[in-house]
């Protein structure tokens, strides 16, 4: 049985007044992309979406990887994809990365790429579409940054927009 617990809930102001020590971390990182994702990012610069095939299970994998986690063997070849895809799920976000409230929502979701194995895709933004028009199963296409502005990052694609012009805003 739980006895009556000690302590109590503090208000925000009370919590700030509790004796404490403040310290700031100064950690900086360089996260390596590795050969598979590295090549994927380089190809984004050229406006192409690249996948990797595993001849063990026959899957076409995005994000690409140098090993197949199911067959546990090296993957075999690079495959170019058309870049179009289908929305698997999405969210209409009224919070940003730091949990600040935002008035104009971020449209974000997971899409599966055409030409890749079922459900193989990435997370990205959706644009040129009204939030209430989004649906699971919507066909989308990438909208690229101008070539000069691309830097070999996932953000070289600005967002994905509906393929059907009637769905666009």
């Amino acid at each position: 049985m739980i006895s009556q617990p000690r302590g109590r809930k503090l208000s925000r102001e009370e919590a700030e007044r509790v004796p404490h020590v403040v310290a700031r971390p100064k950690a900086r990182y360089a996260w390596s992309a590795g050969p598979a994702t590295g090549r994927f990012l380089e190809e984004l610069k050229e406006g192409r979406v690249l996948a990797r095939r595993c001849n063990g299970c026959g899957r076409v994998l995005v994000p690409p990887r140098m090993f197949c986690e199911r067959c546990f063997r090296p993957t075999d070849e690079w495959v170019y994809l058309p870049g179009t895809g289908t929305i698997q799920t999405y969210s209409i976000s009224y919070i940003d990365t730091d949990a600040n409230r935002i008035a104009k929502p971020i449209l974000v979701g997971v899409l599966a790429f055409d030409g890749a194995s079922e459900g193989c895709g990435i997370m990205h933004y959706f644009g040129e579409v009204a939030p209430e028009k989004l649906y699971i199963g919507m066909e989308v296409e990438p909208v690229w940054k101008p070539q000069a502005e691309r830097e070999g990052a996932i953000t070289d694609i600005k967002y994905f927009r509906p393929r059907r012009k009637e769905d666009r805003q």
């Binding site: 004796p19 404490h20 971390p25 990182y29 390596s32 992309a33 090549r39």
Partner: protein, 156 residues
């Protein structure tokens, strides 16, 4: 797999941990300790009679027998050096001149040690067993932190 010949060309993403800062609470026993230090210039310990141990800084529990500790004892400002190290570089590798002497200060056979600085002493004069006393900041400058003690200095 393809061989990487130029590691500098490896694709990477730069970033940092966005935490601005951490807010470390001193805790229930810590609050007693730092309040006594700031207000009264005292060093308090918490005593477990059944284990015969005095914890400094104090704790609300005895780590040996798990008893709740509510007996606070004034340990005075005098102790002795249990061990020490002379730091000639700082944590970023820059030379420290004069060097900093870090020491574990003991307040008695059955107390735990307190980590602090030694001052008013040359590095080559420090020895284990040296009797030292705390030099506190003046009361108006004290803020309830371990740095309210400037350092420990030899009694003689």
């Amino acid at each position: 797999m393809e061989k990487i010949s130029k590691p500098t060309e490896i694709k990477h993403q730069l970033g940092h941990m966005e935490v601005d800062h951490y807010h470390y609470t001193v805790g229930l026993a810590g609050e007693r300790f730092f309040t006594a230090l700031r207000e009264e210039g005292k060093l308090l310990g918490a005593r477990c009679e059944s284990c015969g141990v005095t914890y400094i800084p104090p704790r609300i529990y005895c780590e040996e027998c798990f008893a709740e500790l509510d007996e606070y004892v004034d340990l005075g400002l005098e102790g002795e050096v249990r061990s020490f190290t002379i730091a000639r570089i700082d944590r970023d590798g820059r030379p420290l001149d004069p060097p900093e002497i870090r020491a574990l200060i003991s307040f008695g056979e059955d107390t735990t040690d307190l980590l602090h600085l030694l001052g008013e002493v040359e590095p080559e004069e420090v020895y284990i067993g040296m009797e030292v006393e705390a030099v506190l900041k003046p009361k108006r400058e004290r803020e309830g932190k371990v740095t309210d003690i400037r350092y420990f200095r030899p009694i003689k």
